[in-house]
Symmetry: D2
Subunit: 387 residues, 4 copies
């Protein structure tokens, strides 16, 4: 880090959850400073948020169009813009930011449809800007270790992937009580074609892909809306046929009482197997034939020796647990270093480029459209679109 | 227990695994004594086993036909016969035993086909004899507690069941090295139409049914044989539609490295959820809305107060773990008490009748035929036969 | 096993806990049969128990003296006698049995005082009989594996032992409500000089010694009676100086709410460390410098390859958990095989001799007397007597 | 937060571990900005660090005296100074900062001796400034929940505390290889009278006191230096007599292979018991009489309802794990809000005042001096000084 980057935001107003998570993550390492924002669709709340954040009042904007216009003219313009609005705004705002010449970190999902996603890909490409998509779970060091074990061939051919993301917080129709997080997530207009599968099923898909490098070829999805009156699925079970002959199961739920963010993955190869749980993120279980199970623990020398990416993603020694915000921050670190590399006129390294982007965003939309389509057909197998 | 029952065996010769498990389980509580057997298809080995077991040499028989004939004539004839032969022999031997007037405890699977299973049902019914099927996992006290929580309505409507049974021991083609357990399990003639799904997938199905009381209505199964040259599936992923609108996933594997007997089940209801793991059988996790997770632990007063069946299935106090053999033995206890009730001319209680029988055997065969059929169709949904 | 041994019992009447555990354990493997007993101090209850066990009424004796006299004259006399009475009867009965020429399996503690223990040692020696003391925890396969790792030098010099045995069942004065287990355990006349430390502290001491082979040289014990009116300690914390420069902590409690049988041990050596928990007995955690933690799991090929004793102590494959009764039974297996060896006129093997005996009994009494003495002095260091 | 505080630092130069942890923690929530520092005893490295942090070069000072002098004169002077130097510099620098009129956040240990600690107390008092001591573990939300359960009387009288802090990283004499962290920690001149017990034993003491509110009255400590040539203890076992009749064990180690930061605590009361593990900080185990164990999980509504302090210390929803840095940051949040309260002329609330300070610092030094004294006497009981 030889340059502090200036961050602008669209979204993240008073009371917003994910916007503040972006800020905490971005701030943590001292290389990024929030200096501008259109924090809320209501200009008053945007200004209020600016005050709360102690930023220059002139840079708390009425709306994102104003921000783009004004920031573009400044010498000390923002280095990138984080988009943390409701889902339906991600695409138009990201597009506008890119077209105005700004690098973008976009909260997931990238768009509302696969078509938009493909459009955005072209826009990103044309812009030449850095585009990050905040799929935060690959930011965990042990996810990187797992990926590198697969890449280094430790598992051999991969036979089976079991990946799950159960939650229980929507087991009551709290969207009817005005609960903000529930309301937009269960509203097709703001959330998209899928509910549970869009919100968290995509995380499961993304994690499986990140670790194994495999692509979905076909899937068969049985989505359900258990809560009466809810307009989107709140549970889904999916059979998956991954590339290279790998089989799998993917399931997610928002009505599984007692589950919080139970993202977990089991990858079974011909020579080894891996197991990782998001709620206990500092441990990776490595299983071998006829030998003890190995518990690899974040922060040790042998971790960095095996995976440079895991080592780089680690802030504090073993036994001092790291968690969600640090994983989130790791995406910002790599995204920011990629921007710095460009500012310095050098090619970003592979380690710096290790953050999700437009490719992952397209895959996510393809996943949503596929599971919705399969389920609508009565849970028939559908081919996964090439992205 | 006011009467020691005399047990005969078919199978369980020198080196047999499951036969000796039956004996250990039957002996444990002192109410059953092995006094006769046709322990091996080779008469010499049958006699040798008899010696090893210190039984009267006259009662170590050349074959089961001889046993049935000779035992029938004795005053102190065996009270029941346990059938622990390879799968393909279960049906003809069980049938012969019942028709000769003996109560039968049969190792699973009950038969090789659903048709045979239905035939056996009629034979059992006609015989008026007690028939037990050794699905051992419902014998665990915490499985009984879970079932009783569901029965008492604690969970409300059940939304989702996730049940799994991963193993890793067949990740190499050890059947080609002559490993006995692997050889017959991968041989369609001895094992039946399914490999992994027959051997352990049925346990998963049985456990889900035992706890929830639900029946499978439809399923969609994607079976795979990962190991080249193997003649039966060694992995399977199944989407399930249970009765009463419950959805689910069931998966099993014999090629998941590092998994041993990872039978585990998650039952999600509208009001509570349950989680249980066979390898840590003394604990049942009960999850509620907006409250701490509860860890119910076998052997405590509050367990028996909630579930008489769990209390009855418990031998030693909390903190002294009980495990597989004790669960197995619980089926024998109930089976034997049911026989004793009949011998005493009284109706067995519901607690005594709590062991799997011909109904579970038919369901198991229906399950095997359904998953094989579904998978053969390319993983299409198939209706589950009524049994 | 080429000979079924005949077992007699003193104790284990109707409702007794540990007597029935002895029977279940002894029966499990089919090599031992209970054929005689003086099961209760009340002859009526002794006969009643005999009936319950379906043994020859002539061999359900009025008292142990009668049993010794009558059994001595039989051709088919019992091969050994298990003593499972209240503590204060262990010594006189064991002594009488040995002097009458019977092998003895004695429940712990062996005696009420160290002096008695030393006397018993001489009696055992003079008798030439086999004497087993039921410290059941070394019967666990993973305890044997741990011991063998230490013996094979894997840990190097041992620096530190932390061993604990917390329970919570006596946190209320249930001895005043007539609860049988609580009553005798809190009565110095029946239980001995120590309460908690005698009942379970000795298990902790025994386990640490079994695994490491080290002896206590000095200790400093702070015992407490938390429950008003209780006559013996219900909690104790001990600093220990083991032989060869090893330091340690040993603590036990009967008033630690929520703890069941939390026997657990951590052994830290200069090269490796071990961790084992009785309530999860199938797992041994092996810790190395700069490498993943290893979870060794009972029943796998690599376990038996490392420790013949662990392999021998294993009945069923990995993933089918084994537990308390099986560990208990392992002591019986070795004890019985040692008797069989003698009957066959051959020297028992080291594997057969792997069960606690009179040496462990003396150490247990020395432990009790030492902690009581240290605590009475205000928790001063005291030398541990040589035994 | 209505005002961003300006933070100065002494220490935290290039490569320093704990200084950067302070910065990450301070930055995370956006209310604190590092603007000045004397980051290293070598002025060049101090300036270099200033550059790295992108601060005004004029405020990267040659030494702390210069910083105090120059900052005192500025209108935008730092609001507080964090002292993160080696231990032996904590006292003189904290003293100088306070006397120059600055609020201070001091890394632990506060001083090198109890006498200095008492002196500092007077200095703090006289200064009227806010003084925080960075004992970070009470910053965990679940530690606050535990404390509040005790305060609310849920446990009743506390019988026993078991607290441990095992580590294994010093099992080899890495101080001889020049490893920086090891070198100063094993050097009495930089580290103080105790090694392991000073570095981490004090954390164990602090945590036990924080949760229970009890004070040590007497202790008996057996310290050991296992590694040849090391000049300070690397392991210690302590019997503790806490106030109000509570007994306990406290042990810590730096030579326990495989342990990382195994700080864990068990508090046993007459009505309930608590268990918490630093490496799994989001879970508090609550144990009751004759009921299931309860797993309280950070971030849920019922947590905040029970403990306002735990609720306030929580950033993200349940299931998104929080960890070490967030706990650390919680101390900064409360420390900063206390400063803000003073700046605003209002009395800080109890929730704001919830961070360790000079009292904890004195207790820590009393602890170190007591264990060293006790051990030097051969592990005799010593009275704990009143602080």
């Amino acid at each position: 880090m030889n340059r502090k980057l200036r961050m602008g935001m669209v979204g993240g107003g008073p009371g917003a959850f994910i916007g503040e998570v972006h800020r905490k993550a971005a701030r943590m390492d001292g290389g990024i400073e929030v200096v501008a924002g259109a924090f809320h669709i209501d200009p008053k709340l945007s200004h209020q948020m600016g005050q709360q954040l102690c930023i220059d009042p002139a840079r708390a904007y009425d709306n994102f169009e104003q921000m783009l216009e004004k920031e573009s003219k400044r010498d000390d313009k923002v280095d990138f813009i984080s988009v943390t609005t409701p889902n339906n705004w991600h695409f138009p705002i990201a597009k506008a930011c890119l077209q105005a010449g700004f690098n973008v970190m976009c909260e997931k999902p990238m768009t509302m449809t696969l078509k938009e996603a493909k459009d955005l890909q072209k826009i990103v490409e044309k812009s030449g800007k850095v585009f990050g998509l905040m799929h935060n779970y690959p930011g965990y060091p042990m996810a990187k270790l797992a990926r590198d074990m697969v890449r280094q061939g430790d598992l051999g051919k991969i036979y089976k992937i079991v990946v799950q993301y159960p939650q229980g917080w929507l087991v009551r129709a709290i969207e009817k009580t005005g609960q903000q997080q529930a309301s937009w997530r269960t509203d097709p207009k703001q959330s998209g074609a899928a509910g549970c599968m869009g919100d968290i099923g995509t995380h499961a898909e993304n994690m499986a892909h990140y670790i194994t490098g495999l692509e979905i070829e076909e899937l068969c999805a049985d989505l359900t809306t258990f809560i009466e009156g809810r307009r989107l699925d709140d549970d889904g079970n999916v059979l998956v046929r991954w590339s290279k002959g790998c089989k799998g199961i993917l399931h997610a739920s928002q009505v599984s009482i007692g589950e919080e963010n139970g993202l977990a993955i089991w990858v079974y190869g011909e020579n080894k197997a891996l197991e990782w749980h998001q709620e206990h993120p500092n441990y990776l279980y490595v299983k071998v034939i006829d030998g003890p199970v190995q518990v690899w623990r974040r922060g040790n020398g042998y971790i960095g020796a095996k995976s440079a990416a895991a080592g780089r993603a680690t802030r504090i020694p073993s036994g001092h647990p790291e968690a969600f915000l640090e994983a989130f921050a790791n995406n910002y670190v790599n995204f920011a270093d990629t921007i710095r590399a460009k500012l310095d006129g050098r090619k970003p390294t592979e380690l710096e480029l290790d953050f999700p982007g437009v490719k992952e965003g397209m895959t996510g939309m393809a996943f949503i459209e596929s599971v919705v389509k399969s389920s609508a057909l009565g849970a028939k197998w559908v081919k996964f679109p090439k992205v």
